[in-house]
Symmetry: C2
Subunit: 851 residues, 2 copies
């Protein structure tokens, strides 16, 4: 049966590698757990600290408390040393004993079940009668029907219930990841979570008091079967936690460290409980926890293995009673808070971009946490539960991390906050800022940029870019010299931008003035908006009825370019060979006409900067601009010494499938702005990159020549550290499975066939899919189009029921994933959307008929 | 000798409390450590994992390596179980043994010294001859001259050197904090650090290869003598670290958790080393560490206490050789990086507010880390060292944390990043955002604000405030109705702000347009600046020659208010009784004249908002505006239905000694902006608070009526969590010793007498001290005044030598501390400044003579 040890070693290593790669099936998460009763995870600072005794104590206290018909669900997801060391077996036998001792007249129905047992473990349990039922075994586990139950007490009246479950069991009393290897019985994280979810449902429909306990194995960061640390494995549920601490010499340190490992993964520890070893470890622990988390001390545990522990449980009774009380009140507090949150939010928040009158209390989403791409959302129905939901608005276009990156970033941000906090940037240097600048210049700035200017968000990065561009323009066009020699009067010069209709560059006034009039720029919104630009109508591209089509601006309608405006594939749209088309020269002509200096104005207006969002105009409605047009526009501006700014705040960092969207239009700017995804979607940080020529136009003898713009948290260390780690993570095929090695490209995330199919849908006007973005415009009457449209609301509410959280841009809706999101998840989302579109269409038809 | 146990217990608890309170002497930190040779801290995941064996292994490897005349410094700061368990004694005896075995011809001079020994421990060591020398004992410790040395080898040629030092020793083999209590021998953290610093200097002047090891006690988070966790205690040095892991069952978890406790405190772990227990714990550890940190495995340690371990050391030789190599190369890498950082920074950074031409490479400050209010800065001279420096620019006015708050915030930010990352804010609610909004409204918004609008920095918060104010103004003055009914044309309305000369409200265009022309707003800086305001010259207050004096604006010169413009104390300036003065009515008249509607313009200009920085105009040059004037200005504007904005970005959150500077002028705004110190000085987050009336002017049926402004990371969870924790920490007298309980006030931080003295200094024009701010204006010729002035440069460079990092605002220089900084530290800084001012004055006189 067993192979030669060294062979086994090789084998198991290979096994381990394979498992690592596939331990997440990467499906759209449907995990949820009830809030109908308290559920706690019991963790320990180390192995052998009496975790199961604590579980037993809580269980006994819970069952003995009134009402007497209470229910206790004990779950051991991963058990090694089975069957001898089975913790659920211990609970199953010990609770009736305690009950009988303390309340002999009580009735209890107890059961104990082990669901999946490795063959070696089953062989031990069954003994001589074991016959391998390999047919029913999967991945080395079988369900051998290990179930037992007993009834204690006189049987009169409804009694209490104790349900014990072991989900996966191995024979050897070692860490599950080792037992997995040695017994060839492997289980992936998703399967553990799915089965755990099922077990957590036990007890939902009960009338009495229910308490569920999930007991982990070993220490908080001990590996599970797949090798994932348990604190990572169970993170999607983020159950409230009890930490069993260490009362021995050295135990203060171990307990604090274990607490920190849980905390740095977003868990809430409700209480610490530890065995007394006469060292008063609770004193420094309480001091460390600043009395926010109670620390309970259990009497010393008898060392004699023959001791039935009944006396110990008696002595511990008051401690467990207290602990159970803490657990219940903490649960109640959590529920109360979840329930009041929507009302409170409505009362005191002022949400951006939100008409509060249109958001009734029941529409407010309570987000309990996020794990990778998924929100954990509180839902009120069915006693209330916490449910996973895909964050398809990418929390407003910022999100990138999967679960592993999120935890990594949390740790790195914590490290950086502890190492640096925030330190002064000007004239100084510190590691995260330097490494971040290096990574930006080696990455998105490669081949053109030589300086990095940090600020806080896209909007500030744009204002900085405009200041840079204008100075460069003045320098290049000798205006700077004229000004310094007083040959020219400042007031005679009006600097404008060249920008595209439908663009959006941020919310601060300077960034707004660089965009064409829009719903965001009206007098009511921004009385100071003036629109300081030459605004060109660009040609747009999208997929309609299966084909990619270009719609040229009205002013170009006289040109006959029909043959150049329809494509079978997106690749054709981006193909550089289009430079030779008739459309290409038509674009040149159009642009030249638009850039003719305007006359009649009081001042002489200069086009002092070109600013564009490469390829996709985000806030404008996910509009795809013909890349050929942008390439020619850049060329024409460079010919006229107009500095070129790329606003990559939305498009940068893999949003469009490449690190910098400049790659898609095959040209380089003088200045480019990055933000949003740059930190992986954790905290605000922005960067404006510039060429050395741009930088040089600010160098001089006086401080007044320098660029006098800077925010207090300029290049803040925590943001830079988040950026460093995200930038590296996204582009490395070792960490991002979507990177096509050697190509610096993301794999296609949205299923091409299904995208094509959706583009034919009668409810759909147009479709765009590129990189992490899939967007569609709903077909509506003209009066219902635009940013203020509410036409997609019912569709999006349906999709939220399906576990996809989206937000509309008027009648444009979009789904956005992270650079690491699996294409399978994207496929599932597209399928869900496609299904809902059918219903939406029918609903619309019905409405029309009703009218 | 020993008291009754229960009495001892009471005694020691009392003892503990007293110690806690005083365990930092809170002096201006002068800590530094050399970089002339590698210094490592040896930590362990738990007690009893062989930390000292690892130290011995590294020591042996180091001494045995070429050059043979190498030096090894071994330091044990805290030793319990002395003398039996003395680790430095073990090293002192074992290394010669190993050396003799492996290289019998080598020469070694070894010494072992124990500096401070508790009386019970000394009694054991000295035995019967012990006579208590209480005269030389301090805090229960004495230096009993425990020193021994030996020479090994033939004595020919210069040999190697082994220096072993124990700094503090207790008798009982328990945690130092317990031994401290039981043996009445206490040492504060500052004394540990000061003595450790001294020991670290051993070996600086050596020629050969030197390596220093600092071995901690117990686990990473085991308490030291004062009760501080060792990982917190040693944090100011932030020495690179070796972690001794746990190879036993459960050891993966303990090792990972210990690693995380070090990481979350900003330590760099260079290698993990652990004893083999046959469980291959290194495999999951390597996987967790993603191969960035090497994990080394030591052979199993003989359990027999009689084993002399020589064979084990032989077997381990190659591992320790490898480990030593890792330590040396990591040290070299660190040095190389520190050396190249200034050059790289100069090449690729574009610092804000910085004329790069004026910053030569040697002026670039390399910041290795920060701990509370102090930077750790790299200095090149004397082989290079890392030195502490007080961050008196408060890293540009943002800083608040002391060392304890910094570590707490790091953990809370890590927790929040892991729990939430960033999640969508509009229409949603999540705990950190809700709690933060609640705290803001209960704190700085108390009594007037009812809504919180989040954004990223002060500048964006101001732009949002302006939008709010203008809408409110339009609504209050029926213009909104007129506009909606088309009775009025938008283009006929010009909205302006009322603002003060010298004010500064941020760097984005909208915020800039709300300020009067200044060096920051010139055409070269911001070609789009127009200055949309009625800009009033305010009266300024400052201390000159010992008295607080008001200088009224020129336009008021005709009024005779002399008797109302000079005060003996700052309190008089803020006294509300001044409302009845003649000056008060003169202010009213002046303001009314200035607010008369302007005529002659094409448009009809409205004063649509008042915006002021309460009390202190920061960027304008730390100008203190007469609080009486601001109070009257607010009143006059409210009378005219002009919404009032307080820009508290700089002044808020204890900067001026109160949570909101509005408290100082006894009036409330309609809108107020907060940022900077709100997150404690960690990461950017801003909030615009508003009254319900302001909010209501945006409520309507259409989304287009809503406030369409919002940044991607609106209300980002990590920032909100940092804010929640800082806001609570600063105002709680339990955590902030500067809070005067019950008064919601900071204690006076700057010594009044010394401030007065400085105001008489001939080099000083004026002085302002308030809350955490002390500022002075240097007396200069007119042509050298203002933002571009470089006159303070030499003075500030001297102060940097003294360990105070300051930045000038032209000829205004300032020192800023945190809300928790001890007044003693402030006093030391003032004294230092005062001393340097004398030198500065002399230097100036000399220069004048030379001319």
């Amino acid at each position: 049966m067993f192979q030669h040890p060294s062979l086994l070693f090789t084998h198991s290593r290979h096994f381990l590698r394979r498992r690592r790669r596939c331990h997440r099936r990467r499906l759209l998460s449907t995990l949820s757990h009830t809030l109908s009763h308290p559920i706690y995870t019991v963790w320990a600072a180390n192995t052998g600290l009496g975790k199961t005794l604590v579980s037993a104590g809580i269980a006994a206290s819970s069952i003995l408390s009134s009402p007497p018909h209470s229910k206790l669900v004990y779950i051991k997801p991963l058990q090694t040393g089975f069957p001898e060391d089975s913790d659920s077996d211990f609970i199953y036998r010990k609770i009736p004993q305690i009950l009988h001792r303390r309340s002999p007249q009580s009735t209890l129905i107890a059961s104990n079940q082990t669901l999946n047992v490795s063959i070696p473990a089953a062989r031990v349990k069954i003994g001589n009668n074991f016959s391998e039922v390999s047919g029913s075994c999967k991945n080395g586990f079988g369900d051998f029907g290990f179930y037992e139950e007993m009834k204690v007490g006189d049987g009169v009246g409804v009694g209490s219930e104790l349900i014990c479950k072991t989900i996966f069991a191995w024979k050897e009393a070692i860490s599950p990841h080792l037992a997995t290897e040695r017994e060839y019985a492997f289980v992936g994280d998703d399967d553990v979570l799915a089965l755990l979810q099922k077990c957590l449902e036990t007890g939902v429909e009960s009338d009495g008091g229910v308490l569920s306990l999930v007991e982990t194995s070993g220490g908080v960061a001990s590996p599970g079967s797949s090798g994932s640390l348990q604190c990572d494995l169970y993170r999607p549920f983020r159950l409230p936690s009890i930490l069993v601490g260490d009362g021995r010499l050295g135990g203060i340190s171990g307990t604090i460290s274990a607490y920190e490992s849980l905390t740095i993964r977003g868990y809430d520890v409700v209480a610490v409980v530890l065995e007394d070893h006469g060292l008063e470890n609770e004193v420094p622990l309480l001091s460390y926890l600043r009395n926010r988390v109670p620390v309970l001390v259990l009497p010393s545990i008898p060392k004699d293995p023959l001791d039935d522990l009944m006396e110990w449980f008696d002595e511990s009774q008051s401690v467990f009673h207290l602990l159970k009380g803490i657990m219940l009140s903490s649960y109640k507090k959590q529920l109360d808070r979840l329930h009041e949150m929507p009302r409170k939010a409505q009362e005191i928040f002022w949400w951006p971009f939100t008409q509060h009158k249109l958001v009734p209390q029941e529409k407010v989403t309570v987000i309990d946490s996020r794990c990778g791409e998924n929100f954990a959302v509180h839902k009120m129905k069915d006693h209330g539960y916490i449910s996973q939901m895909f964050d398809a608005c990418a929390s407003w276009w910022t999100q990138g991390p999967n679960a592993a990156l999120q935890i990594k970033l949390a740790r790195e941000m914590g490290y950086t906050a502890a190492r640096f906090g925030h330190v002064m940037f000007p004239e100084n240097v510190y590691e995260p800022a330097l490494e971040c600048a290096e990574l930006l210049l080696e990455g998105v700035g490669k081949g053109w940029a030589s300086r990095v200017y940090f600020s806080d968000n896209g909007s500030t990065a744009i204002e900085i870019a405009l200041k840079m561009a204008f100075r460069k323009f003045l320098a290049d066009n000798k205006l700077l010299l004229d000004l310094s020699q007083h040959n020219t009067d400042e007031s005679s010069i009006e600097l404008k931008v060249v920008a595209l209709t439908g663009s959006y560059h941020g919310d601060t006034l300077g960034a707004m003035d660089a965009q064409a009039p829009s719903p965001y720029t009206g007098f009511l919104q921004q009385p100071w908006y003036t629109g300081r630009g030459f605004f060109l109508d660009p040609p747009f591209v999208s997929m309609c009825n299966g084909a990619w089509k270009i719609v040229v601006p009205k002013k170009m309608n006289y040109v006959d370019v029909k043959e150049d405006t329809s494509f079978n594939s997106r690749d054709q749209v981006f193909n550089k060979s289009r430079d030779d088309s008739n459309l290409s020269s038509a674009y040149s002509t159009y642009i030249s006409q638009e850039l003719l200096p305007s006359s009649g104005s009081r001042k002489f207006s200069h086009a002092g900067a070109l600013i564009i969002e490469p390829v996709i105009q985000g806030a404008g409605g996910m509009l795809m601009v013909d890349p050929l047009f942008q390439r020619i526009l850049v060329k024409e501006c460079k010919n006229r010494k107009i500095p070129v700014i790329f606003d990559e705040v939305f498009t940068g960092y893999w949003r469009l499938g490449v690190e910098s969207a400049a790659q898609l239009i095959f040209c380089q700017p003088d200045i480019a702005c990055f933000a949003k995804l740059m930190t992986g979607g954790m905290i605000p940080l922005a960067a404006t990159l510039a060429t050395n020529d741009v930088f040089e136009s600010f160098v001089g003898d006086s401080k007044l020549n320098a660029l006098l713009h800077g925010h207090s948290y300029s290049a803040h260390a925590v943001g830079c550290a988040a950026a460093c780690n995200s930038v590296k993570w996204f582009k490395d095929s070792q960490t991002n499975p979507n990177i096509i090695p050697g190509q610096n490209l993301l794999t296609e995330l949205w299923d091409a066939e299904l995208v094509r199919k959706i583009s034919f849908h009668p409810a759909v006007q147009r479709v765009v899919s590129l990189g992490t973005l899939f967007a569609l415009e709903l077909k509506v009457e003209d009066h219902d189009a635009g940013y203020a449209s509410l036409c997609g609301t019912s569709l999006l509410l349906k999709l939220r029921e399906d576990g996809i959280y989206m937000r509309p841009l008027g009648n444009v809706i979009y789904m956005m994933c992270g650079p690491c999101t699996s294409p399978q998840v994207c496929l599932q989302m597209l399928e869900t959307l496609n299904n809902r579109l059918d219903g939406f269409r029918q609903e619309k038809i019905q409405k029309t008929h009703e009218v």
